[in-house]
C-alpha cells in the first residue's frame, strides 16, 4: 500500500516538477514571479481538448500541437506584456501584477470559450496498468513519468549543449554582462519563455489526461511556485526535488488522511520547510530570504 502511494506520488510529483522547472527558468533569468505560467498550463490542456474534440485530430497529435501553442503563447505574452515593462526598467512588482492579470485574462477567455464546464479528452490516453508484485501502476502514470524525465533531459540538453542555452545561462548569471558580450537579451528571454511555455503545456496536457480538463487547472502554477521556492531559489534541480516533494506529500496525505484536507497539510508542511530551511532543500544559500 505504501509503496503504491509512493509510486503515485512520484508520478504526480514529476508533473509538478515539470511545471516548477518552467517557473524556475524564468525566475532565474529575470528574477520575476511569472504567474502567466499558469495560463500556459491551462492552455496546454484546453488546446489538446479542443483540437481532439472539434477538429477530430488524434489525441496524441493534438497534445503535441497544444504544447507548441502553449509555448508560442508564452513567448507572445512575454512580448506583449512583460517586454514593455522590462524596456522601461520597471520594478519587479509590476511584473508580478502584470503576469497575474494576464493569467486572469487567459483564464477568463478559457472560461468564456469552454462555458466553464469540466470535461475530459474524447478518449483515454492510455489504458491498462502494470502489475509488479502487489503494486499496481497505471500505464498513464508511467507515461507521465517517462515524458517528464525526457522533457527535463531535453531541457538540460538545450541549456548545456546549444548556443542559445549558453546564452540563457549567461543571462541568468548576469544579464548586463551578457548584453555587453553581444547577447541579444530579447531573443534569450523570448526563448526562455518559449521553453517555459512548452514545459507548462506538457504538464497541463498530461494533468488534463490524468484528472479532467477544467479552467482552474492553471492554479497549479501556485504549486509550481511553491516547488520552485521550497526546492531552492535559482536551482533547477531544486525545483525538480520540490515538485516531487509536493507530489509525494499530496498523494500520501490524500491516501492516509483525507483528500479534502490534503491542501492544508501540504501547504502547512511546505511553510514549515521554508521556515526551518530557508535556503531550500537543494541547499544553495540565498541570503535574501529571511
Amino acid at each position: 500500500m505504501f509503496v503504491q502511494q509512493l509510486v503515485n506520488g512520484i508520478s504526480l510529483g514529476s508533473m509538478y516538477a515539470l511545471l516548477a522547472v518552467g517557473f524556475a527558468i524564468v525566475y532565474n533569468i529575470l528574477g520575476i514571479v511569472n504567474f502567466s505560467h499558469g495560463a500556459t498550463i491551462a492552455l496546454g490542456a484546453y488546446c489538446a481538448y479542443w483540437l481532439s474534440t472539434y477538429l477530430r485530430l488524434p489525441l496524441e497529435l493534438s497534445m503535441v500541437l497544444s504544447v507548441t501553442i502553449a509555448g508560442l503563447v508564452s513567448a507572445l505574452i512575454e512580448r506583449i506584456t512583460l517586454h514593455p515593462l522590462r524596456r522601461k526598467g520597471q520594478p519587479q512588482i509590476f511584473f508580478f501584477i502584470a503576469s497575474l492579470t494576464v493569467f486572469n485574462l487567459v483564464t477568463a477567455i478559457i472560461i468564456y470559450v469552454s462555458k466553464a464546464n469540466i470535461t475530459s479528452y474524447p478518449r483515454t490516453l492510455i489504458y491498462g496498468s502494470i502489475r509488479m508484485a502487489n503494486v499496481i501502476v497505471p500505464k498513464l502514470d508511467v507515461l507521465m513519468l517517462g515524458i517528464a524525465v525526457l522533457s527535463l533531459l531535453a531541457l538540460s540538453a538545450v541549456l548545456y549543449k546549444t548556443k542559445i542555452g549558453l546564452a540563457i545561462r549567461c543571462c541568468s548569471y548576469d544579464s548586463r554582462a551578457a548584453q555587453l558580450m553581444g547577447i541579444n537579451p530579447d531573443l534569450v528571454i523570448g526563448t526562455t519563455f518559449l521553453l517555459a511555455g512548452l514545459l507548462g503545456g506538457i504538464g497541463g496536457a498530461l494533468l488534463g489526461a490524468k484528472y479532467a480538463v477544467y479552467p482552474e487547472l492553471g492554479d497549479m502554477v501556485y504549486r509550481a511556485f511553491f516547488a520552485c521556492m521550497v526546492g531552492g531559489l535559482g536551482s533547477l534541480t531544486g525545483a525538480i526535488f520540490g515538485g516531487l516533494l509536493i507530489g509525494l506529500i499530496e498523494t500520501i496525505s490524500n491516501a492516509y488522511i483525507n483528500a479534502a484536507i490534503s491542501p492544508a497539510i501540504t501547504f502547512g508542511l511546505l511553510v514549515v520547510i521554508l521556515l526551518v530551511r530557508p535556503q531550500g532543500i537543494a541547499g544553495k544559500l540565498v541570503e535574501d530570504k529571511i
Partner: protein
C-alpha cells in the same frame, strides 16, 4: 433592496477590502495573496454566530473582526519573518489551507457552504464602514506606525538601522489589514446570505490586489477609487454577459501597461489641496512621495 443599492453595497465592501490591501501591500510593501482568507474568517465567524446562536449582526461583525485579528497573529508571527516573494508564498499556503479546512468542516457547512445568514446589510451600514475604515487607515498612515511601515517598504535594512522594529511594524500593519478584511467579510456575509469556501480563493485575492494596483498602489485615494471604479465597471459590463471577465481583465491589463503606477500614482486627495492658500502653506503643491 433595489439593484442600485446592491451595487452600492458591493462597491462599499470592495472599498473596505481595498483599504486592507492598501495597508499591507501599498503601505508596507508585502504582497499578500491571502487577503481573501481574512475576508473569509470575518465572514464565516459572523455567519456562524448569526445562524447558530442568532446573535445580533453588529456583535457578529465585531466578533468577526476580533477573530480576524487573532488569526492574523497566528499567521503573521511565523510568516512575517519571511521576505519578498516568500511572504506571498506563505499567504498562498494559508489561503489554500483555510479553504481546505472550511471545505471539510461540518460545522461551517462544508463544501456546500454556510446558508441561511440573514440578509440585513443596508447602504448606510456600508457607508458607515467605509467612512470608519478610510478614516482609520488615513490616521494610521500619518501616525508613527504608518511611517514605520512606509520605511519598511522603502528599505527594510535602513529602517532597522534607525531603530524601527520592522517585525512589529509589519505585524501591526498585517493585523490592521486583517481587521479591515474581517469587517468587510462580516458585511459581505450579511449582504449575500450565504458563504461558500470557493468565494475566498487565491485568485480572488489576486483580484483584490489588482484592484488596488489599478488605482495606484501607493495611494489611499487610488485604492478607494480603483476599487469603486472596477466594481462599477464590472456591473456596467453585466450587459455583455459572458464577455465581461475578458473585457474587465483586458482593461486592467491596458491600464497597467500604459500607466504602470496605476491611475493615481502616489497622488492623494486631501481637503487642503482644494484650498490654494493652505496648499502653498503646507507645501502640498510640490507633490512628492505619498506619505
Amino acid at each position: 433592496m433595489s439593484f442600485y443599492e446592491s451595487v452600492f453595497v458591493n462597491v462599499g465592501i470592495m472599498i473596505i477590502i481595498a483599504q486592507g490591501v492598501y495597508v499591507i501591500t501599498g503601505l508596507t510593501g508585502l504582497f499578500s495573496l491571502g487577503q481573501s482568507s481574512f475576508v473569509a474568517v470575518g465572514a464565516y465567524t459572523a455567519g456562524f454566530l448569526a445562524t447558530r446562536f442568532e446573535m445580533h449582526p453588529l456583535l457578529c461583525i465585531l466578533a468577526g473582526i476580533v477573530v480576524s485579528i487573532l488569526v492574523s497573529f497566528i499567521i503573521g508571527i511565523p510568516s512575517l519573518r519571511l521576505r519578498h516573494v516568500y511572504f506571498s508564498l506563505a499567504t498562498i499556503a494559508y489561503c489554500y489551507a483555510l479553504q481546505a479546512i472550511l471545505t471539510v468542516s461540518e460545522t461551517f457547512g462544508g463544501s456546500i457552504g454556510l446558508v441561511g445568514v440573514p440578509v440585513v446589510t443596508r447602504w448606510w451600514h456600508v457607508v458607515l464602514g467605509v467612512v470608519a475604515t478610510v478614516w482609520i487607515v488615513r490616521n494610521f498612515k500619518l501616525s508613527r506606525f504608518g511611517l514605520a511601515c512606509l520605511s519598511v517598504r522603502t528599505d527594510e535594512l535602513a529602517a532597522r538601522t534607525y531603530g524601527i522594529q520592522t517585525f512589529v511594524s509589519k505585524q501591526i500593519a498585517f493585523s490592521l489589514a486583517s481587521a479591515i478584511s474581517g469587517l468587510a467579510g462580516g458585511l459581505l456575509a450579511f449582504n449575500l446570505g450565504y458563504l461558500s469556501p470557493d468565494m475566498f480563493t487565491v485568485p480572488v485575492s489576486s483580484e483584490y490586489l489588482i484592484m488596488v494596483f489599478f488605482g495606484g498602489l501607493y495611494s489611499q485615494t487610488g485604492a478607494v477609487l480603483g476599487a469603486a471604479a472596477l466594481t462599477v465597471l464590472m456591473e456596467l459590463l453585466r450587459t455583455t454577459a459572458a464577455w465581461r471577465m475578458i473585457a474587465y481583465s483586458t482593461i486592467i491589463l491596458i491600464i497597467i501597461l500604459v500607466r504602470p503606477n496605476g491611475l493615481f500614482g502616489t497622488w492623494e486627495f486631501s481637503l487642503d489641496s482644494l484650498n490654494p492658500r493652505r496648499r502653498a502653506k503646507h507645501g502640498l503643491a510640490k507633490g512628492g512621495e505619498g506619505v
